[in-house]
Symmetry: C2
């Protein structure tokens, strides 16, 4: 019940199943296909690149555990994080069309991924199956998140941006079973948050303090609690 079991848990495809079933209920065959995924298991240390921008398109795979992000770095060092990749998320599924990766993906914590060529083949075999529908819905939701990010960066204040991102992370982790009530682990430094939100580290720090002072959130070493999700949603214009 301790280390070994918990280790096997961190490697399971459960987050993938949870996420896809949230879109469309998969049938037994498709569920079994995912549980028997035989793609290569890969492990990454924090800071390691899962995908290099401009490099050959990566093979499709799922993130089983850990946090990563897609990002771009400007010549002078400024960095923009496009999105966070959480357990259960797919990576490289648009790739087959695209000649090369559009952004580099970098591990934030230790990360495990599993190759998912089998899923890709199944989608080609059954373009109108539940699995294909679920994967398409996932890609669509990902694009919706990118649009949300554009609004965040272009038209929201720092206060609204932070609230919005916290709600997004909470919602996504809930779907894959990694949020417990309003509590979830968030292994992000303030610098990472800043680069995702288009803010400076110092300012992120001050906004977080304000949110804590107002009893809207609690933060402790890698963990977050949303104390007033409804109010945060109003602040951030968050569309659940």
């Amino acid at each position: 019940m301790s280390r070994l079991l918990s280790k096997s848990w961190t490697r399971s495809v459960e987050p993938v199943l949870r996420r896809l079933n949230a879109y469309v209920t998969l049938d037994e065959g498709e569920t079994a296909l995912l549980q028997r995924l035989d793609g290569r298991l890969e492990q990454f240390k924090p800071g390691a690149e899962l995908t290099r921008a401009g490099g050959a398109a990566a093979r499709p795979r799922f993130l089983l555990s850990g946090w990563a992000c897609r990002q771009r770095v400007l010549p002078d060092g400024r960095r923009q994080i496009f999105e966070f990749l959480l357990p259960g998320d797919g990576l490289g599924f648009c790739g087959p069309h695209a000649p090369r990766a559009l952004a580099s993906a970098v591990a934030i914590t230790a990360v495990e991924t599993i190759g998912a060529d089998g899923v890709h083949e199944e989608i080609l075999r059954q373009p109108s199956g539940e699995l294909a529908k679920a994967m398409a819905a996932g890609i669509s939701e990902q694009e919706a998140r990118l649009l949300d990010s554009l609004v965040r960066l272009g038209r929201q204040t720092a206060y609204e941006r932070v609230a919005h991102l916290l709600l997004e992370l909470h919602r996504r982790l809930s779907v894959v079973g990694l949020a417990y009530d309003q509590r979830f682990s968030m292994p992000l430094t303030q610098e990472v948050l800043a680069d995702a939100l288009g803010l400076s580290v110092v300012h992120v720090n001050r906004i977080l303090q304000q949110l804590r002072r107002e009893h809207l959130i609690e933060l402790r070493a890698g963990g977050a609690i949303l104390r007033a999700p409804e109010q945060l949603a109003i602040i951030a214009d968050f569309r659940g």
Copy 2:
């Protein structure tokens, strides 16, 4: 050679052919398919909605003439423009997967579109044909532009943002044959630019003046000229 001919030109699928052929050379059959497109022709006045956010996913179609944009408006009136839609661009091609439209599309000038269900069918029939490849490349490029926009809004200064957007528009119009050397028509008010760039109208005005003062650009009633594209590219970190 005058009004009639020019009118028929504005309705042609030529921009579509130009854009797709820039990705992958289409064969005669595919070219003919596009030229014989029998989808419904639709016309929109400035300000009209081509697609309503949250509404049913729109049928796939191409924009034949005019400018439009995809956008979202916050409850308090703040607006973010996600991207501009130019002649030759597709709209609603991801739609079939997605249950509903992710953003509303609005005409900026008068706009003509043509339904393209035929293209969608052809892609299903020949998933590895040139047409399918070209359309996939187009979607991939569109996502790349969204990522560029995220960098723009999140990590670039107003000066860099304006330069970057002008270069993007010039490049896209060049591909579809609507840029003449460094000159192109740009029927955007400063307010529209502001909402695309996450800036205020007043500030956009000042930045444009600065760029003109520095002889990097020229602007005249709906038209733009890039006087020093290479320097603009350096300023904006624009990756051609």
